[in-house]
């Protein structure tokens, strides 16, 4: 296949993309506005230059990702006010019997497990203030617990198709179903989780010493649940959705359709106030994703991403180089995700990997490598993931000087955890490479 040459349309599309990314990453304006502005400019100039039409722009928006995200946001917004998360958190905290190390493990396990199905941000928004309260009652510094919860929610989210938006985008583009995603990522995420917890227990060893044997958690978990009937309904619906996620490939249903089935049932059964419910959807996130899809769709339509893919294919298609390519992709994705938003990176990389496939490269391992990199890299710095930012803000709100999490304090733990988890992921990936190919 002949490699196309770089042309003016590609230059124009690249220029618009770079300008939009500068606006997004420098936060000159809200990232959603920057993405939308870039998308509109891409469609206008792409249409004028003749490489991108409005129809192509609309087709570039991944409906499966958008609808799944929206439906899950709505389902979680119906679960959240029932108090189920608080109940779980208090029960686990009491089970730890005041042992800080056990408490950290229990809270991290809960946050990780919830993050495999629910949005990381929602999970930490609920767990972070509860964690501060519980740790204050035990006279412990909440900072290590908050840092650990954010990191473990990011790691937990990497395990499933619906755990993190980049996974959803990758799964949607690559046609990877829920079960296949879990079977490939789970065996990597589990050792990564164990190593990361071990690292944090070591790095936080001074802060995790019991300081007050008489301290008790004076919280009544039974008062956390304020609507038992609603809780039973939404939990049963979510359980059904999870079961259907396991079956969606067999049933030939999109993951988005599964979540919409759950949403439709929940709306009909629970009848929430529609006006209040709609305010729970993070429209700015959806707008951001839609803008990015249109932006990157324009670059793809210009032929630039195909050109990049063709050049990469020359390397990746050489015998024995596929593993190296995958590992390089994983680490580049991981390191970049520590400092920039992993969503734009993922959206940009997806068509490049897809272009490699058109060049005859076996891209299956590259999808897994990309998912692992963007999923684990966010732990490196305080700005690497939204969950990190939320936990830092909660530490600030606690007004405890010792709980303040500075960027340096985060990186002191985040960097070892990020490098440790990427190393473990690389080792498992390389050892069982045939399973990922």
């Amino acid at each position: 296949m002949s490699t196309p040459a770089f042309n003016s349309e590609m230059g124009l599309a690249l220029g618009i993309l770079l300008l939009a990314y500068v606006l997004i990453f420098t936060e000159v304006m809200h990232r959603s506005y920057a993405a939308l502005l870039g998308a509109v400019v891409m469609v206008m100039l792409g249409g004028w230059a003749g490489f991108y039409s409005q129809e192509e722009a609309l087709m570039a928006v991944d409906g499966n990702t958008m609808l799944l995200l929206m439906a899950m946001m709505l389902l979680v917004s119906m679960l959240r006010p029932t108090g189920a998360f608080e109940y779980l958190g208090i029960r686990l905290a009491k089970l730890a019997k005041g042992n800080p190390r056990v408490l950290l493990i229990y809270l991290c396990a809960a946050v990780s497990l919830l993050s495999t199905i629910l949005d990381n941000v929602t999970t930490v928004i609920i767990f972070a203030p509860l964690t501060v309260l519980v740790t204050r009652m035990l006279n412990l510094n909440p900072a290590p617990f908050l840092i650990a919860e954010a990191m473990m929610s990011n790691i937990g989210g990497a395990a499933t198709l619906v755990g993190d938006p980049p996974n959803l985008m990758i799964g949607s583009a690559a046609g990877i179903d829920f079960v296949r995603f879990l079977l490939h990522m789970g065996p990597i995420v589990v050792p990564v989780w164990v190593v990361s917890i071990g690292l944090m227990l070591f790095l936080f060893r001074r802060e995790l010493q019991p300081v007050d044997a008489s301290a008790i958690i004076d919280l009544d978990e039974n008062k956390a649940i304020n609507d038992w009937p609603a809780l039973k309904r939404i939990v049963s619906i979510l359980a059904g959705v999870i079961i259907l996620f396991f079956l969606h490939h067999t049933l030939h249903w999109y993951p988005a359709f599964v979540s919409l089935i759950g949403l439709a049932l929940a709306l009909a059964w629970m009848r929430p106030d529609p006006e209040k419910l709609m305010t729970k959807v993070e429209w700015s996130v959806l707008l951001f994703f839609a803008g990015l899809f249109v932006l990157v769709g324009g670059v793809e339509a210009s032929g630039l991403l195909g050109l990049v893919g063709a050049h990469l294919a020359a390397f990746a298609s050489q015998p024995g180089q596929l593993l190296t390519t995958a590992l390089v992709l994983m680490w580049v994705a991981g390191l970049l995700s520590a400092v920039i938003d992993n969503i734009p990176f993922t959206v940009t990389m997806i068509p490049i990997v897809a272009a490699l496939e058109q060049q005859g490269v076996n891209v299956t391992p590259l999808w897994w490598a990309l998912a692992l990199g963007v999923g684990l890299g966010g732990n490196g710095t305080h700005i690497g993931a939204t969950a990190n930012v939320i936990c830092i803000a909660e530490a600030e709100r606690s007004r405890l000087p010792e709980a303040r999490i500075s960027p340096a304090r985060w990186m002191k733990v985040g960097m070892p955890v990020m490098f440790g988890s990427l190393s473990v992921a690389s080792a498992v990936f390389a050892l069982f490479f045939t399973a990922f190919s």
Partner: protein, 150 residues
């Protein structure tokens, strides 16, 4: 009835005022807050007991989970709650930039409507930068009782 006749005169909070002095004044006039006059002589906000207590004694994590709190929290000695230290601070960091107010010629209904809108139980009577005092729902209730008796 002019609102001015119902107003309870209070002193104005000023830069550098101690929290203890603010609390004394609020307790004396039975008002939860008083207006704040800045160094330029303009009334630019209010100093409120509730806001100071919220900012100094009530971290978000306690408020969010108040319905689950047990009855044996006192022994925890939350370091956030330190009365002497709080009372010795100045009010400068606790000024709310908005204050509910009406003109002295406004009807009582308007004052009540603004209090309801602003979710407060007291309001200041201001004509420009001229401050006449504050009225609370308690003083309005007293006024209604007085009217009924006369």
């Amino acid at each position: 009835m002019n609102l001015r006749d119902l107003a309870v005169p209070t002193v104005l909070a000023t830069p550098g005022m101690r929290v203890a002095d603010l609390f004394h004044e609020c307790v004396r006039v039975q008002m939860p807050g008083i207006p704040y006059r800045d160094a330029m002589g303009r009334i630019t906000g209010k100093a409120s007991i509730r806001h100071i207590l919220k900012m100094t004694c009530l971290p978000d994590y306690l408020t969010k989970h108040s319905h689950m709190l047990g009855d044996h929290l006192d022994h925890l000695r939350f370091p956030e709650v330190n009365s002497r230290e709080i009372l010795s601070r100045t009010i400068d960091g606790f000024i709310l930039p908005t204050l509910s107010h009406v003109n002295s010629s406004a009807p009582i209904t308007k004052a009540l409507a603004i209090m309801e809108q602003d979710n407060t139980t007291y309001i200041f009577i201001l004509d420009g930068d001229e401050y006449h005092g504050a009225i609370s729902i308690m003083s309005l209730a007293q006024h209604m009782l007085n009217l009924a008796q006369s």
